[in-house]
Symmetry: C2
Subunit: 270 residues, 2 copies
């Protein structure tokens, strides 16, 4: 089954558009993890096991692992998700982008080494830099379009023939790069108007939407502006608000509650 | 000493603008390395030791290490360069780009974990995504402007108010992002006209220039179009043409010859 088939199946099975972002920050872990040499893996695994019933995917953010020398924990975490929770696709958030011969190695990193089902990618270097990801038709490629950060507009809003750059990216992905039907777009929850504009341009191409929760995106506006006709088309990612919902011994239960609450809040507007 | 001071000192001391790119590909290693569990480190170390007299910097490409699970070899390689060849700055080629809180972790990966003196970064997410790198005033930030690949123009050439996007990036970096004087730009050797245009826009901001050698960039055109008034301002990177100059037992000597020849060829036009 391809990533895109798995995602659609999981949307239906879980009745959830929630993605839990796995951004481990040991300073925020509950006290029980102090002294645990494998705390990054153990904490993330607990969050995964507690939130799995409420999510359509998991999204580990590789910088958080790399800064901690925890590549090994990331490998085991993805393997754990696939083994313990089959049917939940894993999106590796690494936002890679490099010339074709190097992009090949990044594709290998994401899909072969880590076993991710999809990966985020940066479009600035052009199509040939994304091609090695696109060529893996069974995997997903989630291309940055309009990101959730305050400075997103510095480049993404520059007007190219009366349309902002991010709309050109959206059109290129939908019309040219998506030959295998394995593309998604990153569009920040912090930009509801842009979500609507991009939805109009790209039809049913799914969005990965970061920025609800800690970053302040409005759930109702996101869902109403960006869902597809069948009430799906969205992978709404929340990281800190789920992972660190409680710093006490009830951290896993609190994470599950937060994921479930977000699922329900989203479903109200589908 | 800051990265930029170290680079200028090394340009003067070595009389070289050559950067050797460290892109390990075990399938291309000489036969002597077969069966060596630490071949990635040993091969790269040998190349470093042989070419050090002829270079102004080294540039390990992280995808090549990550796809091989060789982060540990990369750590030891950077440490080896600093110990065995003090004064030669290391540019980690990772082209990272993410929202600010995550970019912080990427800055930590590059500068604290790997001990790199500079890092390449992607500007698509805007200034706040690069700020955690820029804030490390003693380190260098090498921002993608006009890359060397064939598809570079897909986004980078889109016209924004009659100027291609890459020129806006160049101007932003030179006029806004370079407050600490620690910025460089990536401009591919494959685009000599663009090199000249960008040099006009950014004054003395140094360029990292990939794409000579295997990718076909013309050395004379690069140097004449892109050097600064004092005959420096360039870090001309060559990877495959140096690393794999010979697949025989003379690989290190052949790499040194290739680096020396490129140094001399560049110096002819300075």
């Amino acid at each position: 089954m391809s990533f895109m088939q798995a995602l659609r199946a999981r949307w239906a099975d879980s009745h959830s558009l929630v993605c839990v972002g796995l951004d481990p920050e040991p300073a925020k872990f509950p006290a029980a993890f102090s002294g645990d040499d494998d705390a990054v893996f153990h904490f993330c695994r607990d969050i995964v096991d507690a939130t799995a019933p409420y999510v359509c995917s998991f999204k580990p953010q590789i910088a958080h692992f790399a800064a901690l020398r925890a590549e090994d924990a990331l490998e085991r975490l993805v393997a754990h998700i696939h083994t313990a929770h089959p049917g939940i696709p894993v999106i590796l958030d690494s936002k890679r982008g490099d010339i074709g011969s190097t992009a090949q190695h990044y594709a290998s990193e994401a899909f072969d080494r880590y076993g991710a089902d999809a990966v985020t990618a940066n479009p600035y270097l052009g199509r040939d830099s994304v091609q090695p990801f696109l060529d893996r038709a069974d995997r997903g490629v989630v291309i940055l379009c309009r990101t959730s950060n305050a400075g997103a507009g510095d480049l993404q809003d520059l007007l190219v023939a009366d349309r902002p750059l991010y709309q050109h990216v959206a059109a290129k992905v939908a019309n040219e790069w998506n030959a295998h039907g394995n593309c998604m777009l990153v569009v920040g929850a912090t930009w509801p108007e842009q979500l609507r504009e991009i939805r109009t341009i790209v039809g049913d191409v799914p969005f990965l939407v970061p920025g609800v929760g800690a970053q302040g995106g409005d759930v109702q506006a996101v869902v109403e502006n960006a869902k597809t006709a069948d009430g799906t088309g969205l992978v709404v990612s929340s990281s800190r608000a789920v992972l660190y919902a409680s710093s006490g011994s009830d951290y896993a239960q609190a994470a599950a509650q937060a994921a479930m609450a977000l699922r329900d809040q989203i479903n109200r507007y589908r």
